[in-house]
């Protein structure tokens, strides 16, 4: 029973709700869904207080539960190539599957060929303009690509874990990482020039 003493559910909301909410919003870009997940996390945690080992902090433990819930949302979202759309339900990029390369030899198509943006060596920390363009472009990705790309970059999650959770083959995984980057880059260039 000593373990239970470390957990104090009556303090959870005041201590961790804002933190968990921020964590979920950053990964889902949906405030309502983030709020629901935080609530679900607290309730799920209550049901398994006996699984809490004192070796991690209360906050780390709750975050781990929330993280699994975020991955569940990613999994549910990944129905085909539906785009995330904006908060207003606006459709994202109408043609995420567009072809950037010539079919016969794989050369860049002239209209998609990368152009220098002048920010290649910029320090992105503190570059607000770049962050906001990137955020807008991320939202235009199909839901599955967004999930894979976000998990890989924000969580630095292992490829194997992402493939297992989202039921992807490693081949699929690299194709998605590649296509997501091509689309993101094209979208940033369009916004920048």
């Amino acid at each position: 029973m000593a373990k239970i003493a470390v957990l104090d559910p009556r303090q959870w909301v005041s201590l961790y709700a804002d933190y968990l909410y921020s964590y979920a919003v950053a990964r889902l870009d949906d405030e309502e869904q983030a709020r629901d997940l935080v609530q679900e996390t607290f309730l799920a945690a209550l049901e398994r207080t006996e699984q809490f080992r004192g070796d991690s902090s209360e906050r780390t433990w709750l975050t781990a539960i929330l993280k699994h819930k975020v991955i569940d949302v990613y999994r549910r979202r990944h129905s085909g190539l539906r785009t995330m759309g904006g908060a207003d339900g606006a459709p994202g990029d109408p043609e995420p599957e567009r072809e950037f390369f010539e079919a016969d030899n794989g050369h860049w198509k002239e209209e998609y060929s990368p152009k220098a943006l002048g920010v290649e060596d910029a320090d992105p920390l503190g570059n607000k303009e770049l962050s906001s363009v990137l955020q807008r472009c991320l939202k235009k990705l199909p839901a599955l690509w967004f999930s894979v790309f976000t998990m890989k970059h924000m969580e630095e999650a292992a490829t194997e874990m992402i493939c297992n959770e989202l039921k992807l083959t490693p081949g699929n995984f690299w194709v998605i990482i590649h296509r997501a980057k091509l689309n993101l880059r094209a979208c940033i260039q369009k916004a920048w020039m």
Partner: protein
């Protein structure tokens, strides 16, 4: 088209390998292909620079969002705590 020419033209393969290389170690064959391609293709070298820039920006985005704490509405919080307390009874 000869093998080398094919590699030199194939920006699709090169950009794929550029992405993969940022996460895992490439096979020897993949490394040779990429080396041959990049030595002659300035557009893909630019792509590589921009791709790395985007990855750095993704990291920065995450750091910023972690630093900037969002706050839940007090009413919502009260509701959450009520639900927890209910189950504690």
């Amino acid at each position: 088209m000869g093998v080398i020419k094919k590699i030199q033209y194939n920006c699709r393969e090169a950009t794929y390998l550029i992405e993969k290389r940022q996460h895992v170690r490439l096979s020897i064959k993949e490394r040779i292909h990429l080396l041959i391609h990049l030595s002659g293709c300035s557009v893909c070298r630019l792509f590589q620079q921009q791709s790395r820039m985007i990855n750095r920006a993704m990291k920065a985005l995450f750091k910023e969002s972690a630093g900037e704490e969002r706050r839940l509405d007090e009413d919502v919080k009260r509701e959450m705590q009520d639900k927890i307390n209910e189950r504690l009874r």
